[in-house]
C-alpha cells in the first residue's frame, strides 16, 4: 500500500516537471510578431521610403541644418548651436544613418522584389527615381560619400561626388525611358505611393524634372554633361503644371507622425522665421532692389508678428538678443484656415502640410537658367516670369486662396529689371533669388542653390561659435561626416579626412564639388567667386 503511494507521488512529481515542457524549443527563437524578408511586399516598403524620406526625424535631419542654412528659418533655442555653425554629432549623424540603414536598404529590397519581373518595370523605375532623389540630397549635404555597394553589410569606398552625379543622371535616364515601355499589366503600389498614387506617367515627369535639377546643379563644374542631361530632361517631358508637383502630404492623425513645421516652429518654439527671408518678403534690399510691397505669397506663408513681417536673425547668441525681445514680435508660419501651413488635428484630419520634393515653379526657373546658358531653347525671361507666376499661384491654391493675375504682374513689374541685368551673371542672380523664394520651404534645395550660385548675396552671417571650425568670415558649406564614419570606416574616407586633426578641422567650411567656391575650398561672406558661363 505504502509502496504504491510512494510510487504515485514520484509519478506525480515527474508529471509536474512536464508541466513546464514545451515542444518548440528549436523554433522558439523565431519572433512571431515581425516579418522576415520573404514575406515583404513592394508597397509596404515604398510607403515607408517615400514618407520617411522626407519627414523622418525632420528636426534633426533638416530643421537644425538646411532649414537654417537656407535662411528660411532661424533657431530659437540657445543650446542648439547648429545655427552658430557648431557640429553636433548626435544630430548630424541622424540623416546619414537613416539614409544608409533604412532608405537605401528599402530601395535595395524593393529592387530585389521587382527583379526582372516584366510586371514590375514601372515600379522598379519609380523606386529608382525616388532613390536618385534621396541620393542627391545625401551627396549635396556631405559631398563625396560611399555610394557603389553601400548599405549591403560591408564597408565600401567613398565615391567622388562627380561620379555619383553622373551615375544618378544615367540611372534617371534609364528609369524614365523604361516607364511605360512594357505593355504587360503593371503592378501598382496604389495609395501606398504617397507621391502620385501609382500614376507612373507622373513619376516619369518627376524623373525628368529631377534630372533637370541635377543637371543644372553641375552647370558650373561640368557644363558638358549638364547640357546633355538638361536637354534630355526637357525633351523627355518635365512638369507642365502645378498639378504635377511632387510633395509628400503630412499625416496629422497622431499615428506616430508629426506635423513638424507646426511642432518645431509654433508649439515647441524651437524655430522661427528668418530675418533674411522675411526681408525679401517685405520688399527690396540693397542688393536686390524691388518695389517695397509685400510678396503676394507672404500672407499665405506667414502671419505677421508684433513687428510685422519681420524675421529673427539666425545664430544670434542670447546676450545679443534685443532687450525686451519676444518671439511673438517676429512673423510666424501661417497655420490659420487660409494659411499654407494650416492643419487641423484629429477626426477631420485636414492637412495642408506637405514635405516639398520638387515643384513646377522650380522646374520653370531651372529651365530659365538652362535657356540662359544655352542648354535648351526657349526664352529665359518668359520662363523666369512663368516660374514666378506658377509659384504664386501654387502657394495661393494650396492655401485655398488665389492671387489675381494683375497682382502677380504688379509684383513681377516691381522686381529688379530683367532688361537692366546686363550680364548672364546678373540674370542668373534674378533667377536664383526667385528660385530661392519659389522652393520655400524646401530647404535642401534652398541651401544647395545658395552654395551653388552664391545668391542671394546679402544674407546675414550668424554669430559663429568659437567652437565651430568655420572660420569667422566663411560660409558654412556642408555637413561634416559623422563621427561614426571616422571611427569605424576611417580607411575608406577621402584621404584628407583620415587623420584626427584633419577630420576635426576640415569640416563645414569646405565646399563640395559643385560649390561656387570649388571643392575643398572656402567661400567668404564677401563673395569673391562668380558663376561660370560658356
Amino acid at each position: 500500500m505504502k509502496r504504491i503511494k510512494v510510487l504515485n507521488i514520484i509519478a506525480i512529481g515527474l508529471m509536474l516537471l512536464e508541466v513546464g515542457c514545451t515542444n518548440g524549443f528549436d523554433s522558439m527563437n523565431t519572433s512571431s510578431t515581425s516579418l522576415t524578408s520573404s514575406s515583404l511586399s513592394a508597397e509596404l516598403l515604398f510607403a515607408t521610403c517615400v514618407n520617411k524620406g522626407t519627414s523622418a526625424d525632420y528636426q534633426r535631419n533638416y530643421s537644425l541644418y538646411d532649414d537654417q542654412y537656407s535662411h528660411y528659418f532661424s533657431n530659437c533655442v540657445q543650446s542648439f548651436m547648429t545655427g552658430n555653425y557648431e557640429y553636433n554629432d548626435s544630430w548630424a549623424n541622424s540623416g546619414w544613418e537613416e539614409f544608409y540603414a533604412e532608405r537605401e536598404k528599402e530601395y535595395i529590397d524593393i529592387d530585389s522584389i521587382c527583379g526582372s519581373n516584366a510586371n514590375y518595370t514601372d515600379m522598379k523605375a519609380m523606386n529608382n527615381i525616388w532613390n536618385c532623389f534621396l541620393w542627391q540630397r545625401v551627396t549635396d549635404r556631405w559631398g563625396d560619400v560611399p555610394y557603389v555597394g553601400a548599405s549591403k553589410g560591408t564597408a565600401v569606398a567613398y565615391n567622388s561626388q562627380k561620379s555619383i552625379y553622373l551615375d544618378l543622371l544615367s540611372r534617371l535616364s534609364s528609369a524614365c525611358t523604361s516607364i511605360g515601355s512594357n505593355s504587360t499589366t503593371q503592378y501598382s503600389p496604389g495609395d501606398d505611393d504617397l507621391l502620385y498614387q501609382g500614376d507612373a506617367s507622373k513619376w516619369k515627369k518627376f524623373g525628368y524634372s529631377l534630372m533637370l535639377r541635377m543637371a543644372m546643379r553641375i552647370s558650373n563644374v561640368d557644363p558638358t554633361d549638364a547640357k546633355t542631361y538638361a536637354a534630355q530632361a526637357v525633351a523627355g517631358g518635365v512638369f507642365t503644371s502645378n498639378s504635377d508637383n511632387a510633395k509628400v502630404e503630412d499625416d496629422l492623425s497622431g499615428n506616430g507622425y508629426y506635423d513638424y513645421y507646426n511642432f518645431i516652429i509654433t508649439d515647441w518654439e524651437n524655430a522661427t522665421t528668418d530675418k533674411d527671408f522675411m526681408n525679401y518678403m517685405r520688399g527690396g534690399t540693397t542688393s536686390y532692389p524691388r518695389a517695397n510691397t509685400l510678396d503676394p505669397r507672404a500672407a499665405y506663408w506667414f502671419t505677421p508678428g508684433n513687428n510685422g513681417y519681420v524675421g529673427f536673425k539666425n545664430g544670434t547668441i542670447s546676450s545679443n538678443y534685443p532687450t525686451d525681445f519676444n518671439w511673438s514680435d517676429y512673423a510666424a508660419i501661417n497655420s490659420t484656415t487660409k494659411g499654407y501651413f494650416y492643419f487641423l488635428e484629429g477626426a477631420s484630419n485636414v492637412s495642408r502640410l506637405y514635405y516639398p520634393v520638387e515643384n513646377y515653379a522650380e522646374v520653370l526657373l531651372l529651365e530659365a537658367e538652362a535657356a540662359l546658358r544655352g542648354y535648351i531653347g526657349g526664352d529665359a525671361q518668359s520662363l523666369y516670369k512663368a516660374g514666378i507666376t506658377a509659384s504664386i499661384n501654387d502657394v495661393a491654391t494650396v492655401s485655398e486662396g488665389s492671387v489675381p493675375g494683375d497682382t502677380i504682374q504688379k509684383y513681377i513689374d516691381g522686381l529688379p529689371s530683367w532688361a537692366g541685368a546686363s550680364s548672364n551673371e546678373a540674370k542668373l542672380k534674378l533667377i536664383a533669388v526667385q528660385k530661392w523664394i519659389a522652393v520655400f520651404p524646401n530647404s535642401c534645395e534652398g541651401w544647395s542653390e545658395i552654395r551653388r550660385t552664391g545668391y542671394p548675396d546679402d544674407l546675414t552671417y550668424p554669430d559663429v561659435s568659437s567652437s565651430s571650425v568655420v572660420t569667422d568670415g566663411d560660409w558654412i558649406q556642408r555637413i561634416s561626416y559623422p563621427n561614426n564614419e571616422y571611427l569605424y570606416n576611417n580607411k575608406n574616407m577621402p584621404a584628407s579626412y583620415q587623420s584626427t586633426s584633419s577630420y576635426y578641422s576640415k569640416r563645414e567650411q569646405y565646399g563640395v564639388w559643385w560649390s561656387l567656391c570649388g571643392q575643398d575650398k572656402t567661400l567668404s561672406k564677401g563673395y569673391t567667386a562668380t558663376n561660370t558661363f560658356n
Binding site: L14, L16, T48, E249, S319, S466
Partner: protein, 1035 residues
C-alpha cells in the same frame, strides 16, 4: 542536436524513475531513530554528527537539528558529536525518538545561512562570501520595500535609487557593474524559486514613467532573512541568470508549537520634501538686468515686490517678488501607511503561515498614489515518513496612479527653470486658457510663457497626464520531498511566477505639445515564468568525513506577451475609452525563451574544519544558435576553519584572543545566454497615418554565431572573531572577468546598419569587501554594538572589440555621453570641457568666453572609490536605538538640473550678476582682459565640465529608537495574551553630513536606474526625508 538532447533527458528521467522505485523497496521496514540535537541553550545544532557506534557511517542533523538514522538493532549506541561540544553516547534502548543535548562553548560557530537552491548551510563550511540580513534588521527603520531595507546592510551591495519618488526603480548591483548591456541586476529567488525583478521603467530623457521592479511586491514583514550570494561561486548553481549574484529571500514559515500566533505590524510615516536645487533669490524675469514680462529667463532686474502686468491678463497685475519655496510648495508631503497581519500555526510537522498586507503611499506629486495589497500562504506537510510537501501561494496587487512624468518635459524641469518671481497660485488659477475656453469650450493650457515644450504650466500637466497601472502577481510553488532513506532524498519542485500588468495613459485635454490629444493608450502585459526542477541528494557521514552529493535539473520557461492599444484623438471629451478614439491602433509583441539545465554538486567535509564544494552545471538555451547553445561551467570552493583545525591538531593558542578563524577560497565560472530573437533579421510593421501599413528595415545586423557570455572569477576571504566574539572581521578579495558579452555595438552606418550584435568585451571587476563588528558594551542590561561594511570595487573595460574602442550607454540631448572606453574604468562621463594650455590655464576666446575643448573628453566617472555603511545599535532593557550611516567616496555626477537652471539665471551659482573677466589666457598666451556679463558667461561660456560634481557623501540613512517589551514580563503582565510588543520611531534619509552637489542629492537624483542615469542629476522629483512610527504586536 536538440532532439538528441530531449531524448536524452527523457531517458534519464525514465532511468531515475526506475532507480527510485528500486531503492525505495529495501529501505521500507528498517528500524529508524529520529530526534533533535540541541545545545545547552536549547538551540538546535544543525550538522551535528550522529553515528552508530562501531559503524563507519552516520548522518548529519539537518538545519533544525533533526536527524534520522537507521540502526541495526534496538540496543545500538548512538555517538553524537559536534565541534566545540562535548561528544555524547546514547543507548537506543528500543526508543524510536531520542532528543539529545550537547553542551556547547561557542554558538557562533553554527551560524546558518541559506545558499543556492535554498539549501541551508553552516556559514563556516562555505568557501565563498555570503552575507545575510535577518528580519529584524530589515524592518527596523520601517522601509516600505525590501530594496530600501537592504540599503547599507551588505558590503559590496550597491543600491542606487532613482530620484523618481515613491515606487520608483532601484538599481541593485553586487560587486560593481560588469555588463555593458546594463544588465547588472542580481537574480532574486524567493524560497528557492526565481522571482522576477525586471524593471519596467519605460522612461527615458524625453518622458515616460519610472516603476520599481518586481521585488517591490515583496512584503518586508513576510521575510525571515535575506542572503546575498555575491560571487559566481556562490551563485553558480543558479546558472545563466546568476552571473550578477543572487538575492535569496527566505520567507517566514509557520509556528511549530501547535499554538496559533497572530502578529500585527503597522507603520505610518511622512516624507516631506527635503532636498532640491539651490536657487538665487534676488533677480527675476528679464534679460540683461532689465525686467521683461515676455522674457523666458531670470536674468532680469532685482525683485522688489513692485506690480507687474499679470501674464494671464494684461489688465491685471501681480507682484514682482521672489517665490523662495516653489518646489517645496508645489509638492505634497508624502505619507505611507502599512498594515500587516499574520497568522502562524500548526505543529512542527505541519506548520503554516498566512499573512495579509496592505500598504498605501500618497506620493509627493499631487494625486500620486501607490497601493499594494498582498496575501501570502506557506505550509509544510509531513504526509508520512517518506514524503514532505511544501506549498506556497502568494498574491500581490500593486496599483499606481499619477506617477510623475519624467525627463526634459517633466513638471520638475518646468519648476526649476521658471523665473523666480512666477507665483504658484497664479499658475494654478490660470492653468487653462480662459479665452479659448470662453470661445470654443475647449480646455487648453495657459502659462506664464506661451506654452511650448520648454515652457509648460506644471498644474496643467498634472491635470493633463492621467496615468494608472495595476499589476496582479501570482507566485508560488509546490514541492515534494521524497525521503527514501535518511541519507537519500529527492526533491521535485514546480514554481510559477505570473504577473499581468496594465498601464493606462489618458491625456484629457487638447495639448500643443502632443499631437492627437485628447487621447488614451493602454498596454496589457503578461509575464509568466515556470521553473520545474528535481534534485536528488545523498548525505552521509563516514568517520571524519561528511559527504553530500546532489544531482538535479531545471527547466525554465518564460514568456512575455503584450498588447497595446491607442485610441487616437477623441472627438468628444469627458469619456475616455479606447473604442471612442478616431484613429485606433493596436500592436502586440511576444518574447519567449527556455533554458534547460542539468547540474550536480558535492559538499565534502573533513572533521568540521575543512570543506570542499564542487559544482558543475550545463545549460541549453533557446536563445543561442544550435551550435553554441549548450554551455558548461564548474566551480570549486574550499573553506578551512583555522581555529577548529588547531584544536584538532592539539595546538595551543589563546582562545580568548582567537575565538574563531577561517580562510576560504573559490573559483567559478558562470555562463549566460542572451535575449530571444537576436539571431534573425526581421522587419517590424506598423500602421501609418493614412491608414497604410509600412514596414521598417532592421537596423541591427544580427549574428548567427553568438556565443554564451562567460564570467570567470576567483575569490579569497577570511573571517575572524576575536576576544571572545568582541570583534568580528570578514574580508574578501575577488576578481571577476566577464567575456563575450552579447552587445549591440556601433556598426559602419554607410554599410547599412546602425549596430551589430556581437560577442564583445572583457570586463574586469576587482575589489575588496570588509565587514567589521564590535560589541563595545556587552552586559546583561546594556548592549552597544557597532558594525561597518566597506567595499571597494573597480570595474575596468579591459577589451571591447577590434572595431570599437568606445561603447556609449546613452547621451543627453546636449551631447554629454556616458561611455565605456577600452582600457578605462567603466562608466565615464564624456563631453566637452574647458580648453586649457599646457600650464592648465583656461583658453579664452577674443569674445571673452572660455573655449571648449576640440573634442569630447573624459570629465568624470560614475564609479566610486569605495562605498559602505557604519551602524550603531544600543539596547538597554528593551529600549533600543540604532543609527545607520551610509557613505560613498569618489565618483562623479553631472548636474543637468543645475546646468538647466544656470542657463536661465535661476540657479544659486548665478546670484552674482557683476561683469567678470574670466581667468585665463588668450590663444597667443596673453592674459584675458575682456569683461563679459554674468548672463553671457552662464549662457555661452560654460561647458559641461562646470557642472560635474564629486558624488561623495556621508549621510545618516536610518535612525530608529524604540522599545521592545521583554517577552517573559509581557506574557506575565498580559496573562499570555500578548507575546510581543514593540514600538519604534524611525527616520530615513535624514541628514547629509558630507555632500558636494548644489542642493540636490548625489544618490537620489537620477531619472532612472540604468548606468547612464546614475551619471546625471536630473532631479525628476525632489528628494525627501522620512519620519515614522511602527508598532508590532504579537498574540
Amino acid at each position: 542536436m536538440m532532439k538528441f538532447y530531449l531524448k536524452k533527458v527523457f531517458l534519464i528521467k525514465k532511468l531515475l524513475f526506475l532507480l527510485f522505485a528500486f531503492i525505495a523497496l529495501p529501505v521500507i521496514g528498517q528500524t529508524v531513530v529520529t530526534g533533535v540535537v540541541k545545545d545547552d541553550t536549547g538551540s538546535p545544532i544543525p550538522g551535528a554528527n550522529v553515528v552508530v557506534r562501531g559503524a563507519k557511517v552516520g548522518v548529519a542533523a539537518d538545519i533544525d537539528g533533526k536527524y534520522e538514522i537507521s540502526v541495526p538493532s534496538s540496543s545500538s549506541v548512538l555517538v553524537v558529536s559536534f565541534v566545540g561540544c562535548t561528544t555524547k553516547e546514547v543507548s537506543v534502548n528500543g526508543r524510536s525518538v531520542i532528543n539529545i543535548i550537547l553542551p556547547s562553548s561557542t554558538k557562533e560557530l553554527r551560524e546558518v545561512v541559506v545558499t543556492a537552491l535554498g539549501i541551508k548551510r553552516e556559514k563556516k563550511s562555505l568557501g565563498y562570501s555570503v552575507q545575510d540580513v535577518k528580519s529584524d534588521e530589515l524592518t527596523k527603520a520601517g522601509e516600505a520595500t525590501v530594496t530600501d531595507a537592504l540599503q547599507g546592510k551588505v558590503a559590496g551591495l550597491q543600491i542606487s535609487s532613482s530620484g523618481t519618488g515613491a515606487g520608483g526603480s532601484q538599481k541593485i548591483v553586487i560587486r560593481g557593474n560588469s555588463s555593458l548591456a546594463d544588465n547588472n541586476d542580481p537574480l532574486w529567488v524567493v524560497d528557492g524559486v526565481p522571482y522576477d525583478n525586471s524593471t519596467d521603467t519605460g522612461n527615458y530623457q524625453y518622458g515616460g514613467y519610472d516603476r520599481a521592479g518586481g521585488a517591490f511586491d515583496l512584503n518586508p514583514d513576510d521575510i525571515e532573512s535575506i542572503s546575498v550570494l555575491k560571487g559566481p561561486a556562490a551563485a553558480a548553481l543558479y546558472g545563466s541568470r546568476a552571473g550578477n549574484g543572487v538575492i535569496l529571500v527566505t520567507t517566514k514559515k509557520g509556528g511549530k508549537n501547535g499554538r496559533l500566533g497572530i502578529t500585527y505590524t503597522g507603520k505610518m510615516s511622512v516624507s516631506p520634501v527635503a532636498y532640491s536645487l539651490d536657487m538665487q533669490n534676488i533677480y527675476g524675469q528679464g534679460t540683461n538686468g532689465v525686467f521683461s514680462s515676455t522674457a523666458k529667463t531670470s536674468w532680469g532686474a532685482k525683485m522688489d515686490g513692485s506690480s507687474i502686468p499679470a501674464w494671464w491678463d494684461d489688465t491685471k497685475t501681480t507682484a514682482y517678488s521672489v517665490q523662495k519655496d516653489v518646489i517645496k510648495n508645489f509638492y505634497n508631503t508624502g505619507n505611507t501607511q502599512s498594515h500587516s497581519v499574520s497568522f502562524a500555526g500548526g505543529d512542527s510537522d505541519n506548520p503554516f503561515r498566512l499573512s495579509l498586507g496592505y500598504d498605501y503611499t500618497k506620493g509627493n506629486v499631487p494625486f500620486e498614489s501607490i497601493k499594494k495589497t498582498s496575501f501570502d500562504y506557506v505550509s509544510h506537510h509531513k504526509l508520512d515518513k517518506y514524503l514532505d510537501v511544501d506549498i506556497k501561494a502568494n498574491y500581490v496587487n500593486t496599483a499606481g496612479r499619477n506617477r510623475p512624468l519624467l525627463g526634459y518635459y517633466s513638471t520638475m524641469y518646468y519648476l526649476y527653470t521658471m523665473p523666480r518671481n512666477i507665483q504658484l497660485s497664479d499658475l494654478n488659477n490660470h492653468k487653462f486658457d480662459a479665452t479659448t475656453l470662453a470661445e470654443s469650450g475647449v480646455y487648453t493650457e495657459d502659462n506664464w510663457a506661451t506654452p511650448s515644450a520648454l515652457y509648460r504650466n506644471p498644474y496643467f500637466l498634472n491635470s493633463q497626464d492621467n496615468d494608472k497601472d495595476v499589476r496582479n502577481r501570482f507566485f508560488g510553488f509546490a514541492q515534494f520531498t521524497v525521503n527514501f532513506t535518511p541519507e537519500l532524498k529527492l526533491k521535485l519542485k514546480q514554481g510559477m511566477d505570473y504577473a499581468d500588468t496594465q498601464y493606462q495613459y489618458v491625456y484629457k485635454y487638447k495639448d500643443a505639445e502632443m499631437s492627437g490629444c485628447p487621447q488614451m493608450s493602454m498596454t496589457k502585459e503578461t509575464h509568466r515564468e515556470l521553473n520545474s526542477e528535481f534534485l536528488l541528494t545523498y548525505n552521509k557521514q563516514v568517520n571524519d568525513f561528511s559527504i553530500g552529493l546532489s544531482a538535479g535539473g531545471n527547466r525554465m520557461h518564460t514568456k512575455t506577451e503584450s498588447l497595446y492599444g491607442n485610441s487616437g484623438q477623441f472627438s468628444v471629451s469627458g469619456a475616455y475609452y479606447l473604442s471612442l478614439g478616431t484613429a485606433q491602433t493596436c500592436s502586440n509583441t511576444i518574447n519567449e525563451k527556455e533554458i534547460n539545465s542539468l547540474y550536480g554538486f558535492a559538499d565534502l567535509g573533513y572533521k568540521d574544519y575543512l570543506y570542499l564544494d564542487l559544482t558543475a552545471r550545463n545549460d541549453w538555451s533557446s536563445t543561442l544558435p544550435a551550435a553554441n547553445r549548450s554551455y558548461f561551467y564548474p566551480s570549486v570552493s574550499l573553506s578551512g576553519v583555522v581555529t577548529s583545525a588547531l584544536d584538532a591538531w592539539n595546538v595551543k593558542y589563546n582562545k580568548n584572543i582567537f575565538t574563531y578563524g577561517k580562510v576560504r577560497a573559490s573559483f567559478a565560472q558562470v555562463g549566460k545566454d542572451t535575449d530571444p530573437y537576436q539571431l534573425q533579421q526581421t522587419y517590424s510593421t506598423s500602421i501609418g497615418g493614412f491608414g497604410y501599413l509600412y514596414a521598417s528595415e532592421p537596423t541591427t545586423l544580427s549574428n548567427i554565431n553568438l556565443k554564451p557570455e562567460i564570467a570567470t572569477s576567483y575569490e579569497f576571504g577570511t573571517e575572524w572573531r576575536l576576544f571572545k566574539d568582541r570583534f568580528g572581521l570578514d574580508f574578501t578579495y575577488y576578481n571577476t572577468v566577464t567575456k563575450n558579452q552579447v552587445l549591440n555595438i556601433p556598426y559602419i552606418f554607410s554599410a547599412g546598419y546602425e549596430s551589430q550584435t556581437a560577442n564583445v568585451g572583457k570586463i574586469t571587476n576587482k575589489g575588496i569587501e570588509m565587514e567589521l563588528s564590535c560589541k563595545i558594551i556587552n552586559t546583561k542590561d546594556f548592549n552597544l554594538d557597532a558594525t561597518a561594511n566597506i567595499a571597494s570595487n573597480r570595474t575596468r573595460v579591459t577589451k571591447l572589440d577590434p572595431t570599437v574602442s568606445m561603447y556609449q550607454f546613452s547621451s543627453l540631448e546636449n551631447g554629454l555621453q556616458v561611455v565605456a572606453v577600452q582600457g578605462d574604468k567603466l562608466g565615464e562621463i564624456y563631453d566637452y570641457g574647458y580648453k586649457r594650455d599646457v600650464k592648465g590655464n583656461k583658453i579664452i576666446g577674443s569674445d571673452g568666453l572660455p573655449e571648449k575643448t576640440d573634442s569630447q573628453e573624459v570629465l568624470g566617472c560614475i564609479q566610486p572609490d569605495f562605498t559602505g555603511s557604519f551602524g550603531l545599535n544600543a539596547n538597554y532593557k528593551g529600549i533600543f536605538l540604532s543609527a545607520l550611516f551610509t557613505f560613498q567616496k569618489g565618483g562623479d555626477i553631472y548636474s543637468f538640473t543645475e546646468a538647466s537652471a544656470a542657463n536661465v539665471g535661476v540657479a544659486k551659482c548665478t546670484a552674482d550678476r557683476s561683469d567678470r573677466v574670466v581667468k585665463g589666457v588668450l590663444e597667443n598666451g596673453s592674459t584675458n582682459t575682456t569683461s563679459i556679463s554674468a548672463q553671457k558667461y552662464w549662457q555661452n561660456g560654460v561647458t559641461s565640465e562646470q557642472f560635474i560634481y564629486d558624488a561623495s557623501y556621508l549621510k545618516l540613512g536610518e535612525l530608529t529608537v524604540g522599545y521592545d517589551f521583554p517577552k517573559a514580563e509581557l506574557q506575565q503582565l498580559t496573562h499570555n495574551i500578548f507575546n510581543s510588543f514593540k514600538v519604534s520611531l524611525f527616520g530615513s534619509n535624514l541628514l547629509y553630513l558630507v555632500k558636494h552637489t548644489p542642493g540636490t542629492t548625489p544618490d537620489g537624483s537620477a531619472m532612472s536606474s540604468n548606468i547612464f542615469s546614475q551619471a546625471v542629476d536630473f532631479s525628476p522629483v525632489p528628494n525627501t526625508r522620512t519620519f515614522g512610527v511602527s508598532l508590532n504586536l504579537g498574540f
